[in-house]
Symmetry: D3
Subunit: 255 residues, 6 copies
């Protein structure tokens, strides 16, 4: 295994809406030996709030993953807390593909005891429960919390969002005995420090995971170690006719 | 809840290849009060052998499910043992959507103690393991077995296929203590009786599930009882822009 | 496997009290091709509220099951939410024997995510918890709720019962995140629709299982598919002397 | 809590066959402060080999348990590795009721890591698996082994039995990584020492539980500590009509 | 296996503070055939409240265990609810080594359904959760409760302590559905009867385990049965250089 | 959270034997922005092969951890696959403390499906099983394998060791369906590439984790992200008298 001197990470935001993710947000992580490239989808939903939205985001996410590997990326991050297409992308490429949800849940389990997942909408609860079961971490999952603030309002009043997030975190800690917080929306990118400070002020020395920051550094660590997902678990798809997905990136598979 | 006098079941085969599923195969289940309609996909893979193939089959499977509900079907069956798109389709429609894998695993657990899943390719093992975990049935899953016969050979020599299936079933019973068999490929539609007879001849009175036959009757039972999936678990998708999937069936959602 | 043109289901109510179950209650399920026969016990308890009562109900339940198979029934349902004698009856006969509790819990798990069990008495909690563990469904069991209304009062004021049931269901949904309701008493036979309507009125689109209706249709589906319990799991009892149970129906075994 | 100066343990052998259990067998455990009384059933099966047999043994086992408590016993042991009627007897009496299977499995889990259960017949496997699940010890259950020697042959050739038991124990240790042995038949009462010696001779320092010896001493320990089963878990049966079980011992309940 | 006519139990209190455990406290358990010997540590912490304290208590606890076996003890009890050094001591000696936490949790699981652990400090929650997981009893663990009274105050006002303990027990029963209570501090040695009476007065017939009383009698039962921990699980340490622990008791190992 | 421009990682090898770990072994991981410092113990065992050895290694490991934090390290790695003292060290310091076993098991679970742990001695099996349970990863643990080659022989014939390791890995893959390999001894530091190549040559594209390399990069990633263990889970020890451990590094606690 030869590790690159510079790690190139491709961040694939699996929606078609421009402007919701900017490279400014990941600028703090950049180093001389770390480059982050960004992709948006060409076909798929405007945002992801349910399994229906996820299903429509996956085909083009796979295409972007194949493109990323061909363009020299060393690792791929799917920029959504539902980890849509994680397993399918791992079949399609050999470089490590990480989901921020899986990554955050494993790190929270390692460094704490029982984690809380704090997100926007209560309707995501069954999806997250299913992810936890699939990832094998049910015994370390203490609490699901949703702030249930409309997205627009959330954007316009960050103070209100931060207060609501801290309130939910305290409930997770005090009622459900959670001891590690996961921000369950990749759009909460500036909220980790604010939540951490509010918890410390309430006498709770509990870490807060900003999943994208963590996953970027974890991807870099895996690249430096020379590890990827197992191709025994995720063997490449066999060649076959695929109707309607005959885009360049998929030309190896479809026609 | 008013139950229909006739149950209409839509069988969606989530691939684009014509001729692999014929209505002749389901003819034995038809009754005066049971109608089976069939859909193939317009876009998607030629066959399903991995998560990549599944991912590409889901968008059009959802469309066919929406079409089926609009056309008056009372229940939907996704005709593939990976249950692709099960959760997304349940969000998109209100009539019951069943996957033959989930249905067979629950019935085997109810009527036996530990089931075996016998399929074509060993590479499906991690996918099936993950489905079992998601369905919450890990403690009742005794054995995964694959015959590993190429599909063409399988088609040309049904005797060889049946012998291989029975051998794997006996291994599952004798080494892994399985006591209920699930045929893990919806293409094994004529194999259940042959396997059952071979097992009886070997002194093993172990039932064999033909998943499509079972799922058709289960769907009928749910329609007669007036039950469907919970919309608390599977709330409808919210309206939003969806790029590239603006087909008629999805017009309520995309544009 | 040859399936009958008409399904005959034997409903065994495992108590000695006449009049608590009438065939009127199952009349809505009858069809030209579905016959329901009913048995009461000759020896056993007046009602079932604990493991002691269950234990005394099982010997004669087995006898009635053997009688039913000899009289041509195609399937047997044990009409009690504790599923008393389920395993012993499956050893004694070859036709499918279903318990409404096991059936309802599996169907709720298939179609929802986490079910609630709502019954009369809080003292049943450990029994139900043990059944859930035996059935392997612990991870899908969200809530046990008891209305704790005396039986007589329950009979005399169905409105009060229905309100209490709906209140408990809302607690299960909102506090325990249940998304599928199981009526945990076979005497709640008219309550499912009322509860469903009250939940819809409260903005909760959550299905409610009437276990007898569901189990009748499930038994019919299994008969039509040609499936029964595994005799590998439930081998027939060997012949031996049995003192004190020398009734006709058991003559093959006792003396 | 006042502890008696002498512990009286009632051993209820839940079958009707005389001579299979003699007080000679428990003589080694007797002390000045420990008395063992013995009961056989008046109604029930000649032996217990399946759930059907168990079901027929439970009603009279309960009656004997009630009799024992009334006669001044301090603890009850149900002398069968299926623990038939354990929960129902605990409802019927307040003195501790122990099953040798549950007791042996918990002690093996405490003192080892993963236990093996070695018994006569392979057909008991699903019953034992279900007991393990009900007792919550699935993660500590390494191996089920059956010698499959007919009972008569077993009686006539103890050397053959002991060799077969030791062979199965070595398989459990070497293939399944068990590290504590449970003799899974209360009739194996002289076999523990022989197995232990054979294992030591094979270089395996693995303890062997004779369940009756262990359960007698455990019952004594609970009596001395003043502990019994929780009546919150096992509340007494409510008074009601019971047909066909109107024997003296049950007069408080039936009529 | 030859069992002694008198059982000698060594109670090792794994701290250096004199006077916190007196033999008066265990006097009620003494009998003609039961002797209890007591050890305190020479090096280690003044009290145990966290994993750091435990870690510092273990080396000398092992030394005291080796001493005890050499001096003729038949069993060892580590007198702390964190069971510090349980596994290491079992490697170092052949006589049974019991921890009161493991013992109490298994007995509560056997005789009840779901236990509560009631202790002094809330900070012990993760430690106890981890012990439960290691002991394989997660499914039977209903509730962790802490009175959070400073130790000095606790000593000075036993009435206040008993009221706080009973309040927490009622919360565990009524909110968390616990049905067996474990006193989670070996210093609560006089509190079991008071709690039991308060619970009975509140209509809750729930047993309360005083872990030291129980573990003394359980150790005696194991000695009488001739059982110890498995040396397959706990093989003796191999001889090697050990720096800094060259005390007499360890001379077989260190130098 | 301010992240350092250079990460300083303290590698604590928890034994007293000089020369078994050299900084040459970690040289490949060094970068301009990554410094690795190394500590050996002053008191403790010569090597770690059981829980007894671990227990004696922990007190001085804690002292070295406290020293490391005071000397400006940003993260600590305990250089032993038993992760001795992981929880106690996390109480004693605030910088992240990682164990290579926990880290490797979580990463293998994330990137594969079911991992194998391949080590030197079969006697470590119960210890590793218990670690897996404590870490909550039991469902992802496929196989424990031991080469059982004496350490000296292992050192002298690396070719023999590599062949034995690859054989065990193939058994884990083919019989136990493992798909990610963990080298279970921190002394196997040069073996990962050789095993990976042998597996590829056998047609198995399965990754192999060298735990120290991985843990170094993971510690760096956590430092860069600004995350540590939760002090809610691992609160600092309270001040108290500690006899016999009054060394400088512990002066804050002992006296």
């Amino acid at each position: 295994v030869k590790t690159p001197t510079k790690t190139i990470i491709q961040l694939i935001t699996p929606i078609v809406t421009r402007g919701m993710r900017t490279l400014d947000e990941v600028a703090p992580f950049l180093r001389d030996d770390l480059e982050i490239r960004h992709s948006l989808l060409d076909l798929g939903p405007a945002s992801i709030e349910c399994e229906f939205d996820e299903a429509l985001s996956v085909p083009d996410t796979i295409r972007k993953a194949i493109d990323a590997e061909r363009s020299g990326a060393n690792a791929i991050i799917i920029d959504c807390m539902g980890d849509p297409g994680l397993h399918a992308c791992r079949e399609a490429v050999s470089i490590p593909v990480l989901g921020p949800c899986q990554t955050a849940m494993h790190v929270a389990t390692m460094l704490g005891h029982r984690f809380a997942f704090i997100t926007v909408l209560d309707r995501l609860r069954p999806m997250i429960d299913k992810l936890v079961a699939t990832y094998g971490l049910r015994d370390n999952y203490a609490s699901f919390q949703a702030v249930d603030i409309p997205v627009l309002e959330m954007m316009n009043d960050p103070g209100k969002l931060n207060s609501a997030l801290a309130d939910k975190a305290l409930t997770a800690i005090e009622r459900d005995h959670a001891d590690y917080m996961i921000l369950g929306c990749t759009g909460f990118i500036d909220c980790a420090n604010a939540m951490r400070e509010k918890l410390l002020a309430a006498g709770r020395d509990v870490p807060v995971i900003d999943p994208i920051a963590l996953t970027v550094h974890m991807a870099d660590a895996l690249v430096k170690t020379g590890l990827s997902h197992s191709k025994q678990t995720y063997p490449p798809p066999s060649m076959k006719h695929i109707a309607g997905f005959d885009m360049p990136g998929l030309s190896a598979y479809g026609r």
